[in-house]
Symmetry: C5
Subunit: 88 residues, 5 copies
């Protein structure tokens, strides 16, 4: 999974019907020093993350697991809100 910060939200009226009602958050992947690393992604949110929070997200079909038996067409999903991480 990847450390990231929630930096925004995406509003999309026209979308696949299986995405209806899912929060579409913009997340910025981070390195271990909390610096941005790579480009932002759009992720669904299964844990109630808010803007500015540090999270980790999962990529691939696994992102849809929290919505089972629904199978929304997603490839990135927030699965945890980070209290803290420590390194060294």
């Amino acid at each position: 999974m990847q450390l990231a910060r929630v930096i925004g939200e995406v509003v999309a009226t026209r979308k696949d019907e299986n995405l209806t009602g899912l929060a579409l958050l913009l997340v910025q992947p981070l390195n271990a020093d909390r610096q941005p690393a790579g480009r932002p992604l759009v992720a669904v949110d299964a844990v109630g993350a808010g803007r500015g929070e540090y999270v980790f997200f999962v990529r691939g079909k696994e992102a849809s697991f929290p919505y089972y038996p629904a199978e929304p067409p997603v490839d990135a999903g927030i699965v945890g809100i980070v209290d803290h991480w420590d390194v060294g």
Copy 2:
């Protein structure tokens, strides 16, 4: 999912028969500032996106979900047209 802009279209007469009838759009991934980031991809389109529109697409087998029970051999598919996104 990845933010992107529809920049063109791919025409292919000879292709896997399960791709017949599917729009093959050229999409340019974007960063949060709407600047190009990385190289363009060919994506199928399940939501009727037009050239110049801002969209988000999903990667992997999930791209074929909107066509179920058909299983076209695709790995990128537009699943939403972005009204706007906000950051900060």
Copy 3:
């Protein structure tokens, strides 16, 4: 999917038996300006592409779909030959 050009062929006598009889082509991914982008890959070919042709290929398990019910261990497969693409 990714735009690419067929630049060569790979000959391998010793290989997984499920690859027997499949063409193994070397493809160079391209950006929208037909310039090389990233390193070449080995892809199977389900559409009869020849050297020098512009194609698009799919990544992941989807690359094995055209061979169903066989399941060759492949992760990249050419699924279309490009007539042309246009951008702008």
Copy 4:
């Protein structure tokens, strides 16, 4: 799989319920010279790896195999602790 070193731990109280009880380790991918290569990831641990140890991890749904029949939403998992590797 990717060579890596365990460099820390992630603490997350609010997370997908299927992650409960799983160790969430921060791993730094390495090149063959044991130098960091790319950004750290959060990986689950199926083999009891400790901080500072050299490991290899698997990406994708395969990371959840050790937990079967549970299917935690993970995309990176440590599956081996490296005694040593040799090159040349």
Copy 5:
């Protein structure tokens, strides 16, 4: 699939039990000019590749296909030994 050269071996006593007995080789991805491209990976070997040999490997769950019905948690596997490739 990716062209690579077998550059070493990884020894791991403590590992997922489904990896027992599988050769864990260190492979260096190559570009078409046989120059290293990107960082080495740990791959299982289904075709008896030896150190120094040129091979191609598959990524993702496909890497476990040669071991079916066993499902080792692997994401990279050598599926062919290259006799030669030609470009141009």
